[in-house]
């Protein structure tokens, strides 16, 4: 019987009393998601009848996530909160999960629209892309050459932000910035480092490297230090304070941004809970209640965005490095 | 021949030594002793346990029971190094060679002399040169072993054994791959060693050798000690009887077959590096001997004829029609079979059952689905195994579990099973015992009387002279001369093989 509703009242099992929400992340061992997990647990504690299953594949692959979702379907969890490695590849399995009565909510890196009930964007792509350009512009004093060092060419949300950045660059406020290259470090420290070095060498006038990925921003920061270009080339992008603190201190990174992963995990858990409980507002065009975050509106495409990314610099990075 | 010093105690004495492999008793309470300054011939049929005995003596196998005493002291070896340190060395039946290393290093491998922590290459080369000088052979000590001929490799192994100044030197079929000239060379070395007081164990299937070099003999049969004594006190027939446990009809039984019409004709067979302008004819019911020194290129010609060498050119006519042989399968389809000389690498599939080995070239004839044809496969395999007196437990036994000679029989059986018109036997009796050798010779006779044509490549002069109707002698990749049976004498055949045929003809 796969049509069984574990959440229904009067279920004899003690376990069934709890709403089981599985958080499927891109890969384990990623500080960002570990922080999101902390947020989810905070939400679970507040909601009292929620059990969180935190899981993800070893390497960030869609196939690995599919296997995991498959087993979650078999376990008949109540909801799946997922950050997808591929917006399309996970749609079929997500649909299957929804057919079996599991509520699927995506967060961070989203699923295509028909694969989920709701997508919780950490912020919107527009804001993130723009923020990174602003940080680069501010660091280099308004004008100069910039380059992007991304993760792999397949990383969905990175690509989305890069597209946004390219579009934003056409706008007059960024007219002084010139994007000279986009390279990929495959989230490997050695390759990212080599690519960063390549950028520094082949573009002597380069002023800033934007890396919307933690491994990338780390490697670029190290390359700038090693090449003794601190103060001449600035690195910026997205990273966790705990992982970036060293590079802010070394001066290679003036500012970087990230949204609050704890809040993201917290809100995603609340949203999933609302869907499981069948709250009338939990639908496209409605809103979900997100505990201490207040309520979050869902647009017609089922997407919701949280706040603007938060910017870190030498003044506040140490404080946050202790948190996530 | 030096008198055996029987009054002294033996250098090496084995008593009650047994060795079992899964299910097989290879050695059963064997006793053996050898004195300083004597040559002991260790004889026995294929699979009698000779090589196993050598391996227990050299620390490669550990005996299950029994004692080995060296100079009166009981010893036990954990590995080859222990045995070497105690003064026992061997030239094994299998080639122990490291292809990519130089000649000099091959001699010293595993025990290179050190000087201040690093290998003393100068000394290695110097001493290698001295060794070869002592052996009176010329070998480039810096050449890689893979570039040497089989005979030259053998001398490297012998040099390795000699370099250790051992008290006991064991030679396990050292002459199997050597030609006449090199064999004589080897005898000289053996006598030299004996004179220097070394004890030598000499294993061979060739009786003329036993009588030429040995002082005493020990006979093994089925892993058991049978007899021992002085060579001077026995005749060849007695030895054979001891070894086989029955009498064997010796000599080369020339089948009484008159060759028929020409079956195979090879003309102007060439290869860029291996041979040039080789032409010969082969008649139905004929045995055509191919003689030459080792490395004369006979095997290469035969392999090319069998379709294994793509770069060979020339015309091959079979039964009056010209045939094109591009691969071995073509050759098999045309009724040509080639029994290769290198059993381990070219002949047998060692970890496959006897059954599968024998039927491999004729799978096309057996059928596509082999499951249903099991009985037929068994019948073929059984037929040839029995005909060749194969010693095995069952047809599903892996070939690797058989003794060297029995492996050779499996390979022979495999090629006979293709039911060929022409069968090329490349050193067919290399390393097989006298009883089986006689069986092979009988069998060759039987083949020609059935109308087959046989090409017999052999480095054993008596075998070629005794069996062949005609003899083709090759030298350095070319046909040097062809002899009719009546013209061939050991002297002129050997002379032709050494390349001095013109001189003979002129005389």
């Amino acid at each position: 019987g796969c049509g069984e509703k574990p959440a229904a009242d009067g279920s004899p099992k003690a376990k069934a009393d709890k709403v089981r929400i599985a958080m499927v992340v891109k890969s384990l061992g990623n500080g960002f998601f570990d922080a999101a997990h902390i947020g989810a647990q905070e939400a679970a504690a507040q909601l009292k009848d929620v059990e969180i299953i935190y899981t993800g594949p070893t390497t960030p692959s869609a196939e690995g996530q599919i296997e995991i979702v498959n087993s979650l379907i078999s376990q008949k969890v109540d909801a799946i909160v997922i950050s997808a490695n591929d917006p399309n590849a996970l749609v079929p399995i997500a649909k299957k999960a929804m057919q079996r009565g599991i509520k699927v909510v995506s967060f961070d890196s989203g699923l295509a629209q028909d694969g989920r009930l709701m997508q919780l964007n950490p912020s919107n792509a527009q804001l993130i892309g723009r923020r990174q350009l602003e940080m680069a512009r501010d660091a280099i004093g308004g004008a100069g050459e910039i380059a992007i060092l991304s993760a792999s060419a397949q990383a969905t949300n990175q690509n989305l932000w890069i597209d946004v950045m390219k579009a934003e660059l056409a706008k007059p406020e960024f007219a002084q910035l010139k994007l000279v290259a986009t390279v990929y470090g495959d989230d490997q420290s050695d390759k990212s480092y080599r690519e960063a070095q390549g950028l520094l060498r082949s573009h002597p006038n380069l002023k800033a490297i934007i890396a919307p990925t933690t491994v990338g921003i780390n490697a670029a920061g190290k390359a700038v230090v090693d090449e003794k270009l601190v103060g001449k080339v600035y690195v910026t992008g997205l990273g966790l304070p705990s992982e970036m603190a060293g590079h802010v201190k070394s001066g290679a990174v003036k500012e970087f941004a990230i949204w609050n992963p704890i809040d993201l995990g917290y809100a995603a858990t609340y949203a999933a809970y609302d869907f499981v409980k069948g709250r009338p507002d939990a639908k496209a065009g409605g809103k979900v209640d997100a505990g201490r975050m207040g309520s979050i509106a869902i647009d017609a495409k089922g997407e919701a965005a949280m706040a603007e990314p938060f910017t870190y610099n030498a003044a506040n990075v140490d404080k946050f490095a202790k948190i996530f | 021949m030096a008198a055996t010093p029987h009054h002294t105690a033996p250098v090496l004495q084995m008593t009650g030594v047994s060795k079992r492999f899964a299910g097989i008793v290879a050695l059963n309470k064997v006793a053996l002793s050898v004195h300083a300054g004597e040559v002991l011939a260790l004889i026995g049929e294929n699979g009698a346990g000779k090589s196993t005995l050598v391996k227990t003596l050299t620390g490669i196998y550990r005996p299950d029971e029994g004692t080995i005493a060296l100079g009166g002291q009981p010893v036990s070896f954990a590995n080859a190094q222990d045995a070497m340190a105690a003064g026992i060395t061997a030239v094994h039946q299998e080639s122990v060679m490291f292809d990519e290393l130089t000649v000099a290093e091959n001699i010293w491998v595993g025990r290179q002399p050190l000087q201040r922590g690093r290998i003393d290459w100068a000394r290695i080369e110097r001493e290698a040169e001295q060794l070869f000088a002592r052996l009176e052979v010329t070998l480039p000590v810096r050449a890689r072993v893979k570039d040497l001929s089989v005979a030259q490799r053998h001398f490297v192994e012998i040099a390795r054994a000699l370099s250790q100044q051992a008290r006991v030197v064991i030679l396990d079929e050292p002459t199997a791959a050597l030609s006449q000239r090199e064999i004589v060379e080897l005898y000289r070395i053996v006598r030299q060693l004996r004179a220097a007081g070394t004890a030598i164990i000499f294993i061979t299937h060739k009786f003329d050798e036993i009588f030429a070099v040995a002082d005493r003999y020990t006979v093994l049969r089925d892993g058991q000690y049978v007899a021992a004594g002085r060579i001077a006190d026995v005749t060849e027939a007695e030895l054979v009887a001891l070894m086989v446990g029955r009498s064997v009809q010796q000599a080369y039984p020339k089948a009484d077959v008159t060759p028929g019409e020409v079956l195979l004709e090879v003309r102007h067979f060439c290869h860029p590096t291996e041979f040039d302008d080789v032409s010969f004819q082969l008649r139905r019911g004929e045995i055509l001997g191919f003689y030459g020194l080792v490395g004369a290129g006979r095997s290469e010609v035969m392999q090319a004829l069998f379709g294994l060498t793509p770069r060979a050119r020339g015309t091959v006519t079979l039964d009056g029609a010209e045939v094109r042989i591009a691969c071995a399968a073509d050759a098999i389809a045309h009724g040509i079979a080639y029994v290769p000389e290198d059993r381990q690498h070219q002949g047998a599939h060692l970890t496959m059952p006897i059954l599968h080995n024998i039927t491999l070239p004729i799978l096309d004839r057996i059928g596509f689905f082999l499951r249903g044809r099991r009985a037929r496969e068994n019948a073929v395999a059984r037929h040839y195994s029995e005909q060749l007196e194969l010693k095995a437990n069952h047809l599903c036994q892996h070939v690797a579990e058989l003794s060297g000679g029995n492996q050779q029989k499996v390979v022979l059986g495999k090629w006979l099973a293709t039911d060929p018109k022409v069968i090329i036997l490349d050193e067919p009796t290399k390393g097989i015992d006298i009883g089986s050798k006689a069986a092979v010779h009988r069998f060759i006779g039987q083949l020609v009387s059935q109308g087959l044509a046989v090409i017999l490549v052999s480095s054993e002069l008596p075998e070629v002279l005794g069996l062949a109707d005609r003899i083709v002698v090759m030298h350095q990749g070319r046909v040097q001369r062809e002899f009719a049976r009546s013209d061939a004498t050991p002297e002129n055949v050997v002379a032709a093989a050494s390349g001095c045929a013109h001189a003979l003809e002129a005389a």
Partner: protein, 328 residues
């Protein structure tokens, strides 16, 4: 001997040509600083390729090096992060010791249990990689957690040359000595040439294999520290897939996967060749999407060139043949 020399000469030439070609397109690449950088960048690959060479010479392969590197590197980073006052040599020693231990596990399974190397190291590759995650709890060790001397060492300079290069040079010398002038090394060649014959001449095969894989592990451990310090970050996935780069370097350097042959020069040149490509691709600004395909083509081209003289075209039996032809 001559053939090998020739092959290595060819490889060295193609490296120089490659560098010059890249230099033609983007002159920065051939600036002294950039070349020095290239050298520094190739050191880890060179060191790993050298011990991998010893393994391949024995007819084996060590697929677990990258996982071993990650595990030892992570352990070193954790140690340094928890005990910032620990002297650096101790940390390096710890990394090397962990690597050695992991390598010895491989060596024991392969040498004493006579299990096939590819299978054993395939297994330990997963196990070691998994252990990185388990032991670190999946967390990163990032630059501000590591003490400054820990991070600074690899790129610090002695007589104007980075420590990395000094270490690599020492390793090259040591490898050359082992491969050419020690009994241990020569035994490895013998084992690779004819494994079943090695025991006939009294080579303790099991012990030799144990220490060969041990050595490979030791090097992975040392490189684990250097890697983590160099890039100032440690996480589960570091050096993921690097084992194939190391093997490719050996293969390009003419070390036969069939065992028994291979020189230190070959391994060093093979590693340099790959390092040049890895460094050149970002500089010449080919589309990043072409990088992997180009690397593949280059590897295939290099091994095809190597293979040409490996093919034996029959023996030379006819001594007079060529003379005849030329006379005619």
């Amino acid at each position: 001997m001559k053939v090998l020399k020739q092959r290595e000469f060819l490889l060295a030439c193609s490296i120089v040509v490659l560098v010059l070609l890249v230099g033609l397109r983007s002159p920065v690449f051939v600036s002294p600083a950039s070349l020095a950088n290239l050298l520094t960048d190739s050191t880890l690959l060179i060191m790993l390729a050298l011990t991998q060479m010893l393994v391949i010479v024995t007819r084996g392969v060590d697929l677990s090096v990258a996982s071993n590197l990650a595990l030892s590197g992570m352990m070193a980073a954790l140690l340094a992060a928890r005990q910032p006052d620990l002297p650096l040599p101790l940390v390096m020693l710890a990394a090397a010791a962990i690597g050695l231990l992991l390598g010895l596990v491989n060596g024991w399974l392969i040498g004493y249990l006579e299990l096939p190397p590819i299978v054993v190291t395939l297994g330990t590759m997963s196990v070691y990689r998994g252990l990185v995650f388990v032991l670190s709890g999946g967390a990163w060790v990032s630059s501000h957690q590591m003490p400054q001397h820990f991070i600074g060492f690899p790129l610090a300079r002695l007589l104007g040359i980075t420590h990395l290069v000094w270490i690599a040079a020492a390793v090259v010398l040591a490898a050359w000595f082992v491969a050419r002038h020690s009994r241990f090394g020569r035994d490895l060649y013998a084992i690779g040439n004819a494994p079943s014959c090695a025991r006939y001449v009294g080579i303790p095969t099991a012990r030799r294999l144990l220490w060969t894989y041990g050595l490979s592990g030791l090097m992975a451990g040392l490189c684990g520290y250097l890697w983590v310090a160099r890039y100032a970050v440690a996480y589960t996935e570091i050096a993921y897939g690097f084992e194939f780069t190391v093997i490719a370097a050996c293969v390009i350097g003419g070390i036969s996967i069939a065992g028994g042959t291979g020189t230190v020069t070959g391994a060093v040149l093979g590693a340099l060749f790959l390092a040049v490509i890895g460094n050149a691709l970002p500089v010449v600004q080919v589309s990043p999407f072409w990088q992997s395909a180009l690397t593949g083509i280059v590897i295939l081209a290099a091994v095809s060139i190597n293979a040409r003289d490996g093919k034996h075209g029959g023996r030379q039996i006819l001594p007079l043949h060529q003379v005849d032809r030329s006379a005619a």
